[in-house]
């Protein structure tokens, strides 16, 4: 079991529209048996935060192509992408680069 972790999630470039227009979210992920990684986080976002049209944010088990992910202001490609193990107080940013958000 891992303890619950607190995260700051940010959405930008139009991605915030899918979250009631709110850019910054402070969330607490509940404790679970496996450590939290981004793959789990995306499922959690889909179930708990996304307000509409989940296909505009998540496709398959990853983010929609064209949405950038930053972990603590660094490219998630450097952090292992979906397998990055989330730490308490991490800052995860999603920026849409698509036209019209």
């Amino acid at each position: 079991m891992v303890a619950p972790i607190n995260l700051q999630l940010e959405f930008g470039g139009g991605a915030e529209l899918l979250f009631d227009g709110v850019k910054k979210h402070h969330v607490t992920l509940p404790s679970q048996s496996d450590p939290w990684d981004i793959k789990h986080l995306l499922v959690w976002i889909k179930d708990n935060l996304l307000k509409e049209r989940s296909e505009l944010f998540i496709q398959g088990d990853t983010v929609r192509p064209g949405i950038l992910v930053l972990v603590n202001d660094a490219d998630w490609e450097l952090m292992g992408e979906l397998d990055y193990k989330l730490q308490d107080q991490d800052n995860i940013v999603f920026i849409s680069t698509l036209h019209g958000g």
């Binding site: 470039g13 139009g14 192509p65 064209g66 930053l70 660094a74 490609e77």
Partner: protein, 487 residues
């Protein structure tokens, strides 16, 4: 990693990671290198920055600011101004929302200390008819090379400095002037709510478009007209447009699908001289959207999100949108997709025959102002498409012979010829506009329910050109051929 010291923050190409400070250096250098390499923007020239509020245009404005700053090596030496066009009416935004967006934009632009203009797309309805005409006479003749121009500019500055006007004071007054004019701009031109009938007319026009593809294309065309108009009336000879290479790769594919293949070099290249007197340059075309987004995030460059026509649209709602999701999906699996498409666009040039054609008013498309691609032989694909379209539309099949008949009768009658001519002139029908357009714009216009909703400057100019063409036809046999003059 270049410095091998700090920790990496992003990867641009595979195996090419950057730390924060190396990335900044790389990003700033790229902008100057782009302008330095192409040598299109001359020192002291007035340049209009076309600003949409999005990440790329904000990064562009920031780079210009950086490049003009006094301590910058390889300082940029042009005089910038910024233009923002509010398109809220097209996307069915309420005036309150648009006002909020515009004041956000205004705050960002005020902070730049550049003069700026904020316009609404509704001002299309106040454009003069002459705006679609080429004024070749006003093209500034640049004699001598770029190097000479830079040299003489520096010489002038030096002379000024020797006269006791120090560079700092010069700059201060410049900033002062910029400040004044920016206040002026924001008070007079901007923010006054456009007339309600114009907003309604604009909405009507876009609602009459049957497809999202046509709407997006129409918006692009009309926006360009407004940018051109502002550039001309305020004496800007260059317009900088902030398209990233990601956008240009998408545009390359979607424009091929839209039938604009002949104009790819103009639509996606570094400089676009289709207007003659105002040249569009795209200094951001070497950056991918990933680079731009990271730069803006890491160095706190603000940007405003404004919903567009395709916001929350499904994947295949328009050709442009579909091309975008195609490119971004491929890019996710094959990271060199965008750069490959973009490098291809760099190799394209307008064919010689096109550029040597007489720059006649009639030879330019009424909407996109490119050289018409419709003067093709009867064996061309264009002709075949037209033919099959005529055949499949029973209505026009009947019309064509009847029109011919009436023409014959007319010519026999002699006098009635003039009457019928004047009749067709006074009513601008679909047919009249269509033959003034390039293939792609014809397709776009076909998706509109009615032509009368187009702004009057377009309709008037169409009428004008049609009349000129008919007059030309009437007096054709008395005209000296261009070729015969050579002999």
């Amino acid at each position: 990693m270049k410095c091998k010291e700090a920790s990496a923050v992003l990867i641009i190409r595979v195996g090419d990671a950057f730390c924060r400070s190396c990335f900044k250096e790389y990003f700033v250098h790229k902008f100057r290198a782009m302008l330095g390499k192409n040598r299109v923007v001359f020192p002291g020239e007035k340049v209009l920055l076309a600003y949409s509020g999005g990440p790329s245009s904000n990064a562009m404005v920031q780079q210009v600011q950086e490049g003009l700053s006094r301590d910058a090596p390889k300082k940029l030496r042009f005089i910038p101004g910024i233009l923002f066009i509010d398109e809220g009416a097209v996307c069915n935004q309420s005036w309150e929302d648009r006002e909020r967006t515009m004041s956000e934009i205004e705050n960002i632009l005020k902070a730049t200390s550049f003069p700026f203009h904020i316009l609404s797309l509704e001002q299309l309805f106040t454009l003069p008819q002459t705006m679609l005409q080429m004024n070749l006479a006003e093209i500034p003749k640049r004699d001598g090379s770029y190097k000479q121009a830079v040299g003489s500019f520096l010489g002038q500055q030096k002379a000024q400095a020797e006269d006791g006007v120090s560079d700092a004071a010069d700059r201060l007054t410049q900033i002062h002037i910029a400040d004044n004019s920016s206040v002026e701009c924001s008070q007079s031109a901007a923010f006054s709510r456009p007339a309600a009938e114009h907003t309604a007319a604009l909405r009507d026009m876009f609602n009459s478009a049957k497809t999202l593809t046509a709407k997006q294309e129409l918006l692009h065309l009309l926006r360009n007209h407004l940018i051109l108009h502002v550039a001309r009336t305020h004496g800007y000879s260059k317009v900088m447009s902030g398209e990233s290479c990601t956008r240009l790769a998408v545009r390359l594919l979607s424009n091929i699908s839209l039938g604009r293949g002949a104009f790819l070099p103009l639509d996606t290249g570094f400089s676009d001289n289709r207007y003659g007197d105002v040249v569009i340059v795209r200094p951001m075309r070497d950056y991918s959207l990933k680079e731009i987004s990271f730069y803006n995030r890491l160095f706190n460059v603000p940007s405003v999100f404004i919903p567009a026509l395709d916001t929350k649209a499904s994947g295949n709602s328009s050709i442009q949108h579909l091309s975008e999701s195609f490119i971004t999906k491929l890019q996710a699996d094959f990271p060199s997709t965008v750069s490959t498409v973009y490098r291809t666009s760099e190799k394209l040039h307008v064919s010689r025959t096109d550029t040597t054609q007489p720059k006649n008013q009639q030879d330019k498309c009424l909407l996109c102002m490119c050289t018409l691609d419709t003067h093709t032989g009867p064996a061309s694909a264009f002709f075949a498409t037209q033919k099959s379209q005529q055949l499949s539309e029973k209505k026009s099949l009947k019309n064509v012979p009847s029109a011919k008949d009436s023409e014959k009768q007319c010519c026999n009658g002699g006098q009635c010829c003039k009457e019928s001519a004047s009749c067709t002139n006074s009513v601008t029908g679909t047919q009249d506009i269509v033959h003034l357009l390039c293939y792609s714009c014809r397709v776009t216009i076909k998706d509109l329910n009615s032509m009368d909703k187009l702004p009057s400057y377009i309709l008037k100019e169409a009428e004008h050109r049609t009349r000129r063409m008919e007059m030309r036809k009437e007096i054709e046999e008395f005209l000296l051929d261009d070729h015969s003059e050579d002999i």
